[in-house]
């Protein structure tokens, strides 16, 4: 295999990995702290994409600087993260924390189905298409092939999100409180940590990340019914591979799947669909808890 092909596989792999990481990191954060498999994550992605595309279409008409599009993406995600984070966590989940985790998954699934219909009520079934930010950044030639800088910028965004999350968890007081809650919810509460507040803030951050994934992907896709479902399936696969609730796991899981998929497209395209589930199956056989599952304390 020549080095040019290797380079192309690596770049394509990184682009897909960053897409996977952006769509799965919010799910991982909530899963890690609250031990909830949050199916509404797919709705946040869809709302992020829809709201962002809608605003971008209007913004493109104004003729204002194209860079404003990136501010819109960030603000859309913050707005949706706060609004949906509060509504879903305070309005639904807080009544269910004492319940079995299967019940909570079903509740978030029910909320997801309701939100899918809310999307249809607000935006209907026609696709929304905002292309300007994609065109704005231009292309770069790598190994004689043109790549969209917008796609490449998602690699940087993923790295930034991963770095901020790592710093936030390891170097800030809130992060340390979060780690204490992850380690043992009851013990953390007895030490004076306001677990209710930690849960709400975590859910808002997780929801923000879900919406950010949708908002950033919006200019590159057809924003239409069903995009939330597509994402939730991929995100689950990545989270299972990386280990439930592990941020490094989501990062490594995305990288493994991204590069393997790109290699399949270039070398053996018939395996493209199979490769993500093959990796998932191997991980489940060899290390059922996932590659980077956080260690669980043994309680007596």
């Amino acid at each position: 295999m020549d080095t040019e092909l290797l380079l192309i596989i690596l770049v394509d792999g990184l682009v897909y990995a960053s897409y996977l990481f952006m769509v799965s990191v919010g799910l991982t954060v909530i899963c890690g702290v609250q031990k909830i498999l949050n199916v509404t994550h797919g709705s946040l992605y869809a709302f992020g994409a829809y709201l962002c595309a809608t605003i971008l279409i209007v913004y493109a008409e104004t003729g204002w600087p194209g860079a404003g599009a990136f501010v819109i993406m960030a603000l859309t995600a913050i707005f949706l993260g706060i609004v949906f984070g509060i509504i879903i966590e305070r309005g639904l989940l807080r009544f269910l924390y004492a319940e079995d985790e299967h019940i909570i998954v079903l509740a978030t699934f029910a909320a997801f189905l309701i939100l899918e219909d809310v999307l249809l009520l607000i935006w209907g079934t026609n696709p929304y298409i905002a292309a300007e930010p994609l065109a704005l950044l231009g292309q770069t030639d790598i190994a004689d092939l043109p790549f969209d800088n917008y796609n490449l910028s998602m690699i940087l965004l993923s790295a930034l999100v991963a770095a901020v999350l790592w710093y936030g968890l390891r170097r800030t007081t809130f992060g340390k409180m979060l780690l204490a809650v992850i380690f043992d919810r009851e013990l953390a509460q007895s030490m004076g940590i306001n677990v209710t507040r930690v849960f709400l803030l975590t859910f808002i951050v997780g929801s923000f990340l879900g919406a950010l994934g949708g908002a950033y992907q919006a200019p590159a896709i057809s924003v239409q019914p069903g995009i939330g479902v597509e994402v939730i399936v991929l995100a689950f696969a990545v989270v299972v591979i990386g280990g439930m609730g592990s941020i490094p796991g989501a990062l490594i899981g995305s990288l493994v799947v991204g590069v393997a998929r790109a290699a399949a497209v270039h070398l053996e395209p018939v395996l493209e669909l199979f490769v993500i589930y093959m990796i998932m199956a191997i991980v489940l056989i060899v290390r059922p808890q996932g590659l980077f599952a956080p260690a669980k304390p043994r309680k007596i």
Partner: protein, 423 residues
């Protein structure tokens, strides 16, 4: 003041009486044994990624049923339209069909866009003995792997799309040397590429395949596939991507120059033209799955009126799901009316089936003929995209109309056997 003549008043009065009698006759004299209403379910995607198709079909169904009911329904019997979402997968559709027949007691079912769903419901429709008119589903296996009595398909199968594209590609690029395919990895994508590849290599045996890509259903990311297609540098690329997946592909492939490098042929390309606007480059081969296009108004009589009515009702020009939905409803109506005329009373389902076989009916996209194997055949057009300032999106130019016999296998010949032998 203008004088009104007696003869004028007389002829007006006679005319009014005659018109009233005709209207009365059509609306108020249903044949013997007729039900109060003909209950027909329309099944299509109203949610999920395929809703762009279903909503076009739904709007067209609502419009045509309202129009006919105003004109007296079918043989004087109004149509009671029941709308059903096709989402949820084949298993759900099978139980939904049972519910429609056993609980809702529908007289007929029109619909099914997904090839997976139409293959799943066909044997069940046969078992339940319910007249089922499939409108969009494209896989040739529907009529070739099943012995159908109650199920009809009122549109050509995917071979018509693939063969008409293959013929067009070779007419644009007679010196074609290499091709590549990018298709979704399920029945529709696999069958479409297979037929296109065989047709091209049959028509020009020295053409080589340099890449065959199989993507996820309605994927959101095509970066790697686009790199692969750019690296393989094929003369022409075939894709049966559709709906949102196709829009995403066009948005991601356009800026990277894929459409400049290779001649791209999209079998469902016409359907997304109104959505992608300026993102669709000029010079891309696109087809409306062997139907007509609203921009080719020289079609059948009534085409212009149909386009205007659908635009007014759906707030969107008719795309191929709209044409195919009309084809299905008009076929059902034609079969009932023929059966009523033959029987001299309200017909049984079996009599409607007998009338349907061999029926030819007119639609805005031309004549559709139903064969005895319950597969309809009709001609269709292919063209290349060209941005239209008037519309704000691309329409097709350099249009070639293919005749039904040039793009459909003859009765009794398996689709792929026919493609392997086309000339």
């Amino acid at each position: 003041m203008r004088k009104i003549s007696t003869s004028g008043i007389l002829s007006f009065a006679l005319g009014a009486l005659a018109a009233g009698a005709m209207a009365f006759g059509a609306a108020a004299a249903p044949p013997k044994g007729a039900p109060k209403a003909l209950k027909v379910a329309f099944v299509d995607f109203f949610s999920g990624g395929a809703a762009v198709f279903g909503v076009s079909g739904k709007g067209t169904s609502e419009w045509v049923v309202a129009k006919w009911n105003k004109e007296g329904g079918i043989g004087g019997v109004p149509i009671d339209l029941v709308l059903v979402d096709e989402g949820g997968g084949p298993k759900k559709q099978v139980s939904e069909l049972r519910r429609l027949v056993l609980d809702e007691k529908v007289d007929a079912v029109v619909g099914y866009t997904s090839s997976g769903n139409c293959l799943a419901i066909a044997p069940v429709a046969e078992e339940l003995k319910v007249l089922t008119v499939v409108h969009v589903c494209g896989t040739h296996r529907l009529t070739e792997d099943n012995k159908l009595k109650y199920v009809f398909r009122t549109a050509s199968n995917q071979a018509a799309d693939s063969v008409s594209l293959a013929r067009y590609v070779l007419s644009v690029k007679p010196d074609l040397k290499t091709i590549a395919g990018a298709n979704e990895d399920y029945a529709w994508g696999r069958d479409s590429w297979e037929a296109f590849k065989i047709a091209i290599q049959r028509l020009k045996p020295d053409v080589k395949v340099v890449a065959e890509l199989w993507t996820k259903f309605q994927a959101g990311e095509y970066s790697a596939e686009i790199s692969r297609l750019l690296a393989a540098r094929p003369d022409a690329i075939h894709s049966s991507f559709w709906g949102g997946g196709l829009i995403t592909f066009i948005k991601q492939a356009g800026p990277r120059g894929l459409f400049d490098q290779s001649l791209v042929a999209l079998s469902t390309g016409e359907q997304v033209l109104q959505n992608v606007g300026k993102s669709m480059p000029d010079g891309v081969i696109a087809a409306p799955r062997a139907t007509a296009g609203f921009f080719a108004l020289e079609g059948a009589p009534g085409h212009k009126a149909f386009v205007e009515a659908i635009y007014k009702h759906n707030k969107r020009y008719p795309d191929y799901p709209a044409y195919r939905t009309y084809q299905a409803w008009a076929g059902l109506k034609g079969a009932y009316e023929k059966a009523i005329a033959d029987a001299g009373r309200w017909p049984t389902t079996e009599e409607v089936i007998k009338a349907f076989e061999g029926l030819s009916w007119e639609t805005p996209s031309g004549t559709v003929a139903m064969r005895s194997d319950h597969q309809a055949v009709h001609g269709g057009l292919v063209g290349v995209t060209k941005f239209s300032k008037e519309h704000g999106f691309a329409i097709l130019e350099n249009i070639v109309h293919h005749k039904a016999e040039d793009i459909n296998p003859p009765l009794g010949t398996k689709t792929l056997d026919w493609v392997r032998a086309i000339k």
